[in-house]
Structures are given as structure tokens and as C-alpha cells.
């Protein structure tokens, strides 16, 4: 017989747990759900749009009644569980229904808090928590004039805004002197208040409600100072509390919420709890993202897999209150010893504040323009030093191109036919439809279902904005720790650290030590592990070609028709007539359909059949060429300008230095592709300041620039330092490259890496600390001994022949 799982509560967190559980173990349980409302599971965040009549009920349903039926879940909708009998392992509902359980999941959510004043039980006094409340408000708006909302938080303001839209005269009563004090600092709160006043909302600030007056129905609200204001409807929105009465009565240990451990288990091992009713490591959460993380963990344990843990969440809030974008995270009220940076533009209605201590962001408040919220949040979460860009931080992330701007209001007004993701041709309408039909809540979900922002990622901001505007304002983009992939809970840093600290030398060792969930990983973690091991143990670790993406396995670029392209290395971009003749001969012999000069000053031969590759390489190798690595997460090219041998402006021998740099670095595997350039003078014809490592020659020496990128997001390099000799250029470049190779995450280019770890920390190791620089350089040169064995020559001579030789069968 199947085990019986009973869930108390039918809200977003609970049903999400069931969905995750059905994915993991669809046949494991006989599931019964009790929900006090007569509906399926709906998106509670969308109650405000429902009130404002921007949405209808069917649009905010996440799981309708058919869903329960289709999944064989017994739903008692409209019935409230009144008792949990832990001795007999059963629950009892208000209508006498009794259901026994083997495991119980409490997802009772939270209760709105009612101020204990006389008259609170009068008709016309309600809270704002469920669909019934919305219906009461809509009815009142039709029949009455005066509404009073008690509570100037998010929920209160949303209720007030909705009621105003239906023609009511609304006064918001707030106990404190500033609105939304849990999300906003005082200046932002003042801006919000004056905006709302302009739209006609009235306020009674620092007003303590002492009584609600009326006979048959509410008629007025009375304050401590004796004043009264007329009211036909009173909405109490002063806060919520975890709903724990049922659990307490059953003797389950509670504090503010139901106390759970990292597996979402309560003090009774067969009873789990999840969502707003829960207290985990002293925190209670009310945002969607952390609750869904909990759901994932809880499902993992209910399915008896037992591998995941919930370790708490750092949350940020991105909201839209009555048309105003707000973002806040962390401690945004500065304390002693903190610094605050503020940018205020009354004309455009924006306000930004960042609170800083020891050059790290402690908190932020953004009003009106929340575009950089997720950037500030990630700097805060990673503890990145902002010392290098203090002067410009308030102006936003300078390297984000226009495509990345996440402006919710603008996105909302776009027609459905507008293309959002240029790589995969996904329109706004497709994304909205997928989000609402499939019940998507995270960026990863949207990527999986629509492919939007899953290729180059430059439209991520737009997709997040669409997500925010479609699922509701409580959407929070806050992942706690980013796992490497679905095979593990561990992050890239965890893996790099473990390989080093525990001397892990093979992929099975890493997977076993870090408790991988899959026996041989996936297409996303295998190349990463292979890279980390290769970099940490050069000459010792045996490269696993089956963990290489096809381009690196076949040492050519796969094209969309399954043929390959071949780019021979031309050091520094220099070539001779016989080089070009040899390339031309190869093209004739193998009937290469197209040739092209690449952006990195090399020659690309397209359309070569895979089985011809070894023969092509044999000819190229015979003419003195080695692999150009145009296909790999590897050192690609050194681009050079003419230099002082020919150019009248040239200050140094840029081509000669470029050749030396390429001879030093060719063949090295990297976290991502890596490009260099050498310009002979500050006119910078080789475009060195958008390369991963760029050299700009000047009369007195060489400027070294790092972290540039000319791709999706153009980023100009940061100046690392200036050196006097070519030998120093080589040493500094090798040291920089090695630090990047050892510390960056796989598939992280230098631009985001430099921003994540901070230029100062790179300077400290590569420029200021002579010994560390020399040690890095030595490690790089050592690993190059093994990397500079030409893979083309080896394959031309027969290595890995099976990779290239097709099979033929009779029949």
C-alpha cells in the first residue's frame, strides 16, 4: 500500500512542494490536501491586481481543480483542519472529516493581524488576505463611499490603491511617521507618500487607532487624539503572523513560527512544515523565492532522497507599488560607522541610496529606477569590494548595454509581438503565455520552457521584468547559493576549494566526495570538473575527452550543418607567402567552400567534413601550422597593429611582442575564451582595451590592461599597471592568466570575474606582491609544458582516430 501524505493548507508553498514531489516520486504517496478556501491553488501575490480589476480570477489560478484530479490528489477545498492527533496520526476537519497520515505536511501560511480594539468584529471590517476579502472590498466599493485602510505597508497601500480605482475615498492610517518603513528609508518613503497624495490618497500618519465605531455596520474610526474619520469599510493591513495555532495545539514546538531544521522537518519527525508558517534558523520568510527553495528541499526529503538542505535565504524586495518601482535589500538605514551614498533626482522621480561599510555594500534602497537592484544585491551577497568603482557605482553597472535594461513599466507596455530574445527568436507573448500556462516562477524555468535568455543572456533583464510583471510584485530574484548544476548543491567555489583542500584528482573522486546526485554528471558539470582538475593538476590529471564539449573534443568548431571550421594559428597575425600558399593548397585539395578573415586576424576555413579533419591537419602541420584553438575555452589570439617597424606613430615593436605573447600562451585551457592584443601606440589600432589582456605601448614602456570584452556587453579594460620591459609584459600577463585560470568559475570571462573579485585583489597578487607574481608565472609556465603539445599534429598522426572515423555497415 502507498504511504499516506496529508497536507494542511492549500497555498503556493505547499502546492509547489507537491509539484516538486510529483516530479521526484510520482507514485510514492496517496495525497490528501485540506484548504480552507473553496478554490484550487492561486497566486496570492496577484490579489492586488485582482482587486484593481487588472486580472480576473482564472488568470491568477496556478493549479485549478482539474490539476488535483489529474494527479490523483484528494482535495478538501473549503474545509479547515481543526485538530492534529499525533498519537493516532490523523487530522480532523471542521466538518468532522478524519484522514490518517504516515507523513504530514503543515503549510498553513500566515494569518493577518487584527488590532485588538473595540468594534473590530463589526460588519465592514476586514483584512486583505484572500479572495473573499477582495470580493468584500469590491461589494463595498459599489455601495459605499468612505474607506479607511489601517496600515501603511505594501499590502495596505495596494488595497488603498485598488479601492481608489473603484471610486472610493480612501484614507490610509499609519502608526509610524513613514510609509513602508520595512522596505524603505525615510526619504524614499516621503517621495512615495507625496506621489500617492497627488493621486488623491489621504493619510493619517502617526495615528493610533483606539476604536472602530458603528452599530449595524462600521461607521467611523477613532484615534487616540480623539479625532474621528468616517468609514463604511475598514481594511486592516497591519501585518501577518505565521499561522501556528494548529501546530501548537498538537504539541509541535513553535516559537514565532513552527520551528524546522534544514530538511524542513519539525520536532516530530513525521511532520514537515513549509512556507510562511515556518521558522527556520530564527527567520520567517514571506517572499516567493525562499519559499520555493524550501519546497524543493522538502520534496527531496519527502521523496526519501535526502540529499538537499535549506540553508536560509538572503532576500531582496523588488516591488511595484501603485506604479512606482521600488527595490530594497539588506540594512538600508545606516548605523554608526556606515557611509551612505545618495543620488536624488526630483525631476525624474528617482532616489538611490547605498549603505556601505568597509567598502562593502550593506544595504540599498532604490525608488523609481530599480534597474541596478540586482547588481547591487549581488555585490552585497558576494561581499565584493567596491573600492575600485566607488565614484561611479550610483550611476549603475556601466557595462550593461541597452539590451540588458530591465524596466518593468517599459516592458509592460510592449506589444506581445516584440522580440525579446534575439538569439532564439522568442517574443514577449510567448514568454507571458509560458509563464501563466506552465506556472513558471524563476528565470531558470522560463529559460527551460521558452529558451528566452538561455543563449547569450543579454536579454536576462528584460525576461526578469516580464516575469516580475506577470507573476506579481512579490517576485524576488534572490537565489541563496547558486549550485553548479542540478547534479549538486555545491557552488563552483565549493568545488574549486574541495579539489585543492582535499587533493581530489579524478572526476569520480570529486563527485563522490561532494555527494553528486548523478553517477556521471551532466553536460554542464562534466566540462567544468574536467577543467578544474586539469588546471589544478597539470601533467598529472588525464584529460577526459568525453567530458569536453564537441568543439574541444574534435579540435574544430562545429557548424550548424555538422561540418567543422578550421583556423590555423598565425602568431601575432603575421604570415608569409608560403603560409598563405599552404592554406590555399589545403582549401583546393579539400574543396573548402568558404574562407574568411576572422575578427582576431586569422584565416577561417569553413565546411570541412569531420572525417577529413585529420588529413587537413596533416597538411597544415606539415607546413608548420599548429592549432589556432579558435574552438575552445582557451587562449585564442593575440591581435596586433603594425608597430614601430612600419608605422610612423609606433612607439614599440607591437608585432614582435605579440608573437612572444602568443608563443608563451598558446594552447592553454581557460575558464572561457581568452583574447589578447598589443597596440603600438595609444591610438590603439589593435583595440587592446576591449581584450581580456591588452597591451598599449607608450614611449616609456607598456600599459597592461585587463578584463575587457567586446562581445555581448562591451566592457572597457581596467588598467592593471605600467611596466618598462617586454620581459615584464610576459611575466605579468602569465601571472594574470594563471590567477584567472585558478580562481574564475568555469565559463566566466575575465570581465565579470574582475568585477566579482575586484581589481584591487588582482593587483595585490599580480602587481604588488612580487613573490606571488613569480609563483603564478612559474605555475603557468609549468602547465604550458603539457598544454603546448599540438593537438592537430597528434591527431594527424593517429591519436583518437575513433573520433573522426565513421563506421560503415553492410545492409
Amino acid at each position: 500500500m502507498k504511504q499516506r501524505l496529508v497536507m494542511v493548507g492549500n497555498g503556493m508553498a505547499g502546492v509547489r512542494t507537491l509539484e516538486e514531489l510529483l516530479k521526484l516520486a510520482p507514485e510514492m504517496y496517496d495525497v490528501t490536501v485540506f484548504g480552507s478556501e473553496p478554490y484550487g491553488n492561486y497566486n496570492r501575490i496577484m490579489l492586488s491586481p485582482l482587486l484593481a480589476k487588472e486580472k480576473v480570477l482564472s488568470e491568477i489560478m496556478l493549479n485549478d481543480l482539474d490539476w488535483y484530479q489529474d494527479n490523483n490528489i484528494r482535495l478538501y477545498a473549503g474545509r479547515q483542519v481543526t485538530q492534529i492527533d499525533r498519537v493516532h496520526k490523523r487530522v480532523i476537519a471542521d466538518d468532522g472529516t478524519e484522514v490518517e497520515y504516515d507523513r504530514l505536511l503543515i503549510a498553513s501560511g500566515s494569518d493577518p493581524f487584527l488590532i485588538p480594539v473595540p468594534g473590530v468584529d463589526l460588519p465592514g471590517v476586514i483584512t486583505f488576505r484572500d479572495i473573499a476579502d477582495v470580493n468584500t472590498m469590491l461589494d463595498a466599493a459599489r455601495d459605499y463611499k468612505h474607506a479607511v485602510v489601517i496600515g501603511g505597508g505594501l499590502l495596505g497601500l495596494e488595497a488603498a490603491n485598488g479601492l481608489m480605482k473603484h471610486g472610493m475615498k480612501v484614507t490610509v492610517v499609519h502608526l509610524l511617521d513613514s510609509l513602508m518603513e520595512r522596505q524603505l528609508d525615510k526619504p524614499a518613503s516621503t517621495l512615495l507618500k507625496s506621489h500617492l497624495e497627488q493621486s488623491g490618497m489621504q493619510f493619517a500618519m502617526e495615528a493610533q487607532t483606539t476604536a472602530i465605531l458603528g452599530d449595524e455596520r462600521v461607521q467611523a474610526v477613532k484615534f487616540a487624539d480623539g479625532n474621528e474619520i468616517p468609514a463604511d469599510l475598514v481594511v486592516m493591513a497591519v501585518g501577518i503572523r505565521p499561522s501556528i495555532a494548529l501546530a501548537q495545539q498538537a504539541g509541535i514546538y513553535c516559537e514565532r513560527g513552527i520551528v524546522v531544521n534544514d530538511t524542513m522537518q519539525t520536532f516530530d519527525p513525521v511532520v514537515y512544515a513549509i512556507g510562511e508558517c515556518v521558522q527556520h534558523r530564527s527567520n520567517c520568510y514571506g517572499l516567493v523565492a525562499p519559499l520555493f527553495e524550501q519546497a524543493k528541499v522538502c520534496a527531496n526529503h519527502l521523496a526519501n532522497i535526502g540529499t538537499s538542505r535549506y540553508e536560509g535565504s538572503i532576500t531582496s524586495t523588488k516591488l511595484k507599488v501603485t506604479g512606482i518601482d521600488l527595490f530594497s535589500a539588506g540594512d538600508y538605514n545606516e548605523g554608526e560607522g556606515d557611509e551612505a551614498m545618495v543620488l536624488q533626482d526630483p525631476a525624474s522621480g528617482t532616489y538611490k541610496k547605498i549603505v556601505i561599510r568597509d567598502n562593502k555594500i550593506k544595504g540599498t534602497v532604490l525608488y523609481g529606477d530599480t534597474m541596478d537592484g540586482s547588481w547591487y544585491f549581488s555585490l552585497m551577497r558576494e561581499g565584493t569590494s567596491i573600492a575600485d568603482f566607488r565614484k561611479t557605482i550610483l550611476f549603475g553597472q556601466h557595462d550593461v548595454g541597452d539590451a540588458g535594461h530591465g524596466d518593468v513599466a517599459r516592458v509592460m507596455s510592449l506589444p506581445d509581438s516584440v522580440e525579446i530574445c534575439g538569439c532564439n527568436g522568442v517574443c514577449k507573448g510567448d514568454i507571458v503565455a509560458a509563464i501563466s500556462k506552465q506556472g513558471l516562477f524563476t528565470l531558470e524555468d522560463v529559460r527551460a520552457h521558452t529558451k528566452a535568455s538561455s543563449s547569450c543572456g543579454s536579454c536576462t533583464g528584460l525576461v526578469e521584468s516580464i516575469l516580475a510583471s506577470t507573476v506579481g510584485e512579490g517576485y524576488s530574484a534572490a537565489p541563496s547559493k547558486q549550485a553548479m548544476c542540478a547534479c549538486t548543491e555545491h557552488s563552483h567555489d565549493d568545488v574549486i576549494h574541495a579539489i585543492k583542500e582535499h587533493q581530489l584528482k579524478t572526476m569520480p573522486d570529486v563527485r563522490q566526495f561532494l555527494e553528486w546526485k548523478t553517477p556521471d554528471g551532466c553536460a554542464s558539470c562534466r566540462p567544468a570538473l574536467n577543467y578544474y582538475l586539469l588546471t589544478k593538476w597539470p601533467g598529472e590529471y588525464a584529460d577526459d575527452s568525453q567530458s569536453r564539449f564537441i568543439n574541444e573534443r574534435a579540435h574544430g568548431n562545429i557548424q550548424k550543418d555538422g561540418t567543422y571550421s578550421v583556423v590555423p594559428r598565425m602568431f601575432g597575425g603575421l604570415c608569409t607567402p608560403s603560409d598563405l600558399r599552404a592554406i590555399a593548397d589545403v582549401c583546393d585539395k579539400f574543396e573548402v567552400p568558404e574562407m574568411k578573415v576572422t575578427g582576431g586576424q586569422r584565416i577561417d576555413l569553413f565546411g570541412i567534413k569531420k572525417e577529413d579533419l585529420p588529413a587537413v591537419w596533416k597538411d597544415l602541420s606539415g607546413a608548420g601550422f599548429v592549432s589556432g584553438h579558435a574552438y575552445g575555452k582557451a587562449m585564442r589570439t593575440v591581435k596586433t597593429c603594425a608597430g614601430k617597424n612600419w608605422c610612423r606613430f609606433g612607439t614599440q615593436d607591437s608585432t614582435g611582442l605579440g608573437v612572444q605573447l602568443e608563443e608563451l600562451t598558446w594552447g592553454s585551457w581557460m575558464p572561457h575564451k581568452f583574447k589578447l592584443a598589443v597596440s603600438g601606440c595609444p591610438r590603439n589600432c589593435a583595440e587592446a582595451t576591449i581584450k581580456d589582456f591588452g597591451v598599449v605601448c607608450v614611449d616609456s614602456g607598456y600599459e597592461l590592461h585587463v578584463g575587457g570584452n567586446g562581445g555581448i556587453k562591451v566592457r572597457v579594460t581596467d588598467l592593471l599597471c605600467k611596466v618598462a620591459t617586454e620581459a615584464e609584459v610576459l611575466e605579468y600577463s602569465g601571472a594574470f592568466i594563471q590567477k584567472y585560470r585558478e580562481e574564475a568559475h568555469y565559463l566566466e570571462r575575465t570581465a565579470p570575474w574582475v568585477e566579482r573579485v575586484g581589481l584591487s585583489s588582482i593587483k595585490a597578487a599580480v602587481v604588488d606582491d612580487v613573490e606571488q607574481r613569480k609563483a603564478l608565472y612559474e605555475r603557468f609556465k609549468y602547465s604550458q609544458k603539457f598544454a603546448q603539445i599540438d593537438p592537430w599534429k597528434a591527431r594527424a598522426e593517429g591519436e583518437a582516430a575513433h573520433e573522426f572515423m565513421p563506421l560503415r555497415i553492410a545492409g
Partner: protein, 110 residues
């Protein structure tokens, strides 16, 4: 089901977690070997945009297409996750370390 078994190659000649391509007159067939030495064969064309699945990374009993990262189940030929599509699979067997394929019986049609 009628099957005419055709000898392909020794199991050892297919790399573990890797593949070989069989050229036939009609189309290419990808033949995969898992970490635990099971063998699967399917048309070497992803249901999405006909990417050569033989060039993908094999993990468990799944291959990830090299062009756009669709994940195809080796046994059924069906796309996994939210993607939808299916590619032809062919019966294979191993006898005395030699892999045989049957082209006459197509298990699932696209």
C-alpha cells in the same frame, strides 16, 4: 518484430560515455555507449534542428545535443524536460563483445 541483426563493431571501439557514427545510405546513425556498457542507437539528428547527437556529451542514459543543449533520452529517443520531440531509435544487442544493430525494426517513429 522482425529483426535482421547486422554486426557493427566491437564494444571496446566505442568510448565509454561516448559514441560512434554509422554511415548508411539513408542517413547517419549514432551509436552510444554508457558508463555501465549499455549500448543505444538512434538517428544522428536531434528532433529540434537536426543537430548531430553523436557529437553531444553522454551522461547517464541521456545525450545533450551540441547545437542547442536539448537532452535526448537514449532509450526512447524522446526529448526530456520541457522540450518536445522524438528521434528514431534502433534495436541493438551485444554478443561476445560485439555490437549488432537492426535497421529493419524502427522502435519509435518521429
Amino acid at each position: 518484430m522482425k529483426s535482421n541483426w547486422i554486426e557493427v563493431i566491437a564494444l571496446e571501439a566505442i568510448p565509454q560515455l561516448g559514441s560512434r557514427v554509422i554511415k548508411t545510405e539513408a542517413s547517419n546513425i549514432a551509436i552510444f555507449r554508457t558508463a555501465d556498457d549499455r549500448v543505444f542507437a538512434m538517428k544522428d539528428a536531434c528532433p529540434h534542428k537536426q543537430g548531430p547527437l553523436s557529437q553531444g556529451i553522454v551522461h547517464g542514459t541521456t545525450v545533450t545535443c551540441p547545437l542547442h543543449n536539448w537532452k535526448i533520452d537514449l532509450a526512447s529517443g524522446e526529448a526530456q524536460g520541457p522540450d518536445e520531440g522524438c528521434t528514431n531509435v534502433y534495436p541493438v544487442k551485444i554478443e561476445d563483445g560485439v555490437v549488432y544493430i537492426s535497421l529493419s525494426a524502427v522502435v519509435a517513429a518521429a
